[in-house]
Subunit: 431 residues, 2 copies
């Protein structure tokens, strides 16, 4: 069993406690041992908390930092102090540290990594950039054979939400900001986000890894989005562009890097231009791999907890256990006939009265409801019929298609193709 201590029980801290509890079984199976939250640092013992925290709260950081049974300290307080001092003490006490703190890592990374190395423990910070999007570990491991030429990304969800609202809803900046605040995407003092400072810290972390050189946030040139007007967004659209707050860094010659955060118009075929709302994306260009992109929710309680808990698992595994086969379940592969989807069907039939009704009848008998039917492209006495169904079972569809094939006025069922939609939020769900 691995004992951990958590510093902070705000949004992310609560997410971490809940995720460890909700996915206790898979985490234990994948890690090979259990993760136990031993103590949690809070400021106020009387505040109402998640029931999973019962009996674990303390107001003394040293209860965690000096506990010899705690192997891993998770820092989710945010802000520079006291987080920095706590992390230092934890590392000095030879505990692995997992943190989501972009401010501490971007400003004090050098000192902290030296401390971790000296103590022979790990310092993990996957959650500090891009929330739950895997980016730090992929850059350090999966792309390690590459010389990185450039990184560019949408690293701040608040500003991306505001720009998306301006573009799609024709809201002006102030209205879009108010909407972001109403939804909890922006703070009451939003300057850290809209002036680009939050993106600059994340870019400092990413470019330090990409170019193997220490880049602190004060070295990043920053322009925010506070001066972007609706008119600019409209012109951009007319010109075929989308305005995004782009954080980018690239190697210049042998010994220089360019590092900036600035509003940028992206052509519609640019991979970052399609990133909407609070989503983040990071494009990395390596000399061998070419361009790879990582996309997902860049913030939020559970996405950030996903990255923190993955780091906890890696810290627990460190030097102890290699990941072998992870197929510990025996799931059954279901017959695809029982799967559901929407389907597009194209067929050729005689262009005469009653044919469409016979075809519709075959669908109806097999419980297939149709979203739309188009009859067109008549050549001689032959019509082409295209339909799209609602969600239906594949088995039912196959039965209907067989009946339709047997209809004497149907020449040929040409094609049957699955159809996927995305729901209104732009990324979730489909069939």
């Amino acid at each position: 069993m691995i004992n951990i201590g958590i510093l902070g029980l705000g949004t992310v801290g609560t997410g971490v406690v809940e995720l460890l509890e909700n996915n206790r079984k898979v985490i234990k199976q994948r890690l090979g041992e259990e993760v136990n939250v031993k103590k949690i640092l809070v400021r106020d013992l009387s505040k109402k908390r998640t029931p999973y925290a019962d009996g674990k709260l303390t107001v003394q950081a040293d209860d965690i930092l000096d506990d010899e049974q705690i192997n891993i300290v998770v820092e989710v307080l945010g802000g520079e102090e006291p987080a920095l001092s706590y992390i230092k003490k934890a590392l000095q006490n030879k505990k692995h540290v997992v943190t989501a703190n972009k401010e501490v890592i971007s400003k004090h990374g050098k000192e902290l990594f030296e401390l971790a190395e000296k103590s022979g423990v790990g310092l993990y910070f996957e959650a500090s950039v891009g929330g739950g999007i895997p980016i730090i570990r992929p850059m350090k491991h999966c792309l390690a054979a590459n010389r990185i030429l450039r990184i560019s990304g949408i690293l701040n969800g608040t500003t991306n939400y505001i720009l998306t609202q301006m573009q799609e809803k024709r809201r002006n900046f102030e209205d879009a900001l108010r909407e972001a605040q109403r939804l909890g995407y922006a703070e009451s003092d939003p300057s850290d986000d809209i002036k680009g400072f939050d993106a600059a810290r994340k870019l400092a972390i990413l470019s330090s890894i990409a170019f193997n050189t220490r880049i602190t946030p004060d070295k990043v040139y920053v322009e925010g989005i506070e001066n972007i007007e609706l008119e600019d967004i409209k012109y951009a659209g007319e010109l075929g562009y989308t305005v995004k707050l782009v954080a980018s860094a690239r190697k210049v010659g042998k010994s220089e890097v360019e590092v900036l955060v600035a509003p940028t118009m992206l052509s519609k075929n640019h991979p970052l231009s399609a990133v909407r709302d609070v989503y983040n994306a990071i494009l990395v260009e390596g000399d061998a791999v070419g361009e790879v992109m990582f996309f997902g929710q860049g913030a939020g309680k559970m996405p950030t907890a996903s990255a923190v808990v993955a780091d906890i698992m890696d810290a627990a595994r460190e030097g102890k256990r290699r990941i072998y086969c992870t197929c510990y379940d025996e799931l059954k592969v279901i017959d695809v006939g029982s799967s559901t989807s929407r389907f597009y069907i194209r067929l050729k039939a005689k262009d005469k009265p009653g044919v469409l009704s016979k075809i519709s009848g075959a669908f109806g008998r097999n419980d297939i409801s149709l979203h739309m039917v188009i009859q067109k492209d008549v050549k001689g006495d032959v019509a082409e019929i295209v339909t799209v169904t609602h969600q239906v079972h594949f088995n039912n569809l196959k039965k209907a298609i067989n009946e339709i094939r047997d209809l004497k006025d149907v020449e040929r069922v040409i094609n049957v193709i699955r159809v996927e939609e995305v729901s209104s939020n732009g990324v979730h769900g489909d069939n």
Copy 2:
């Protein structure tokens, strides 16, 4: 120094040898020791090879598999045999194995992982799915705290190229296939790709990891794209869809999974619908992280070598050395003034003769050439002018803007925003 042996010197093997040589310095810095290619298995000693392979060739697999100084065996032969037997022997001889072989891993993964665990060595296969796109390690590590609900992806570049050609160039299937063959994207016998078998193997590997259950390719329901006609693509377009060969797997209830490869129409706002040409993308949905997407070149010499060499580095590092700070360079952050970009500028000026020429003069004196100028939105005697520049230095632009601000007929320079284009291949390069 880590000695490796490579089985096979085809396209990927040559890429691995070249990448290890070209990026020798960064690889050594990041890993902390040198990777030395000791021996390479080939079939024909007389064939002309990369000069980096000189003096290392052998036609005897056992020269590598039985060499006690070789710690890591890299298998890039492809195909089921003799690759499988060689991998087994390497693992039995307690050597780490790195492979790009999707056929062997998808069909014989269980046996090989058990063998690796028994021998206490690692079996790495990042390159077997998605070429250089980080996906195996991110799923095993970064998303380890999640219950995976669904994965869906475009896992075969050949079919995606054909479908993109059909959609964008209105080529029919046969012409698009011939074009793919001419460009080397498709084999002379293309059935493995176009019938969906290649995608099925990759999906078997991904879904085994995602759902912690062994899924072999024969369990995957497969439809290929060989029956898709240009007419279908056209109708799909009219209906607002793009046709893609989608590989998808999802958990159904507690003990079942649905695993299929089939042509699917995706609505234009679906994240996978924008994946063009030979690119691959994998969308993973976890209960905590939500949806994350990984995008990049799914095949090719250097992208695949990028994944293989990353695996070699991880195998070399295994249990030996934690990654601490990797900032071993001291790069200078360049003044953003010397960076270049295209810029959009919007300003308000008096609507009278000579004003535009004065503005253009200020640009010209500072070496700023203009891509386009729009004058519009005249209110009373005021005109709004929008211009987009070619690639220019930011310092020059700032000087020009200052001169323009001082012009007496210019009321206000409202905004200056960077513009990024992507070149015609859809993803590479920009400003």
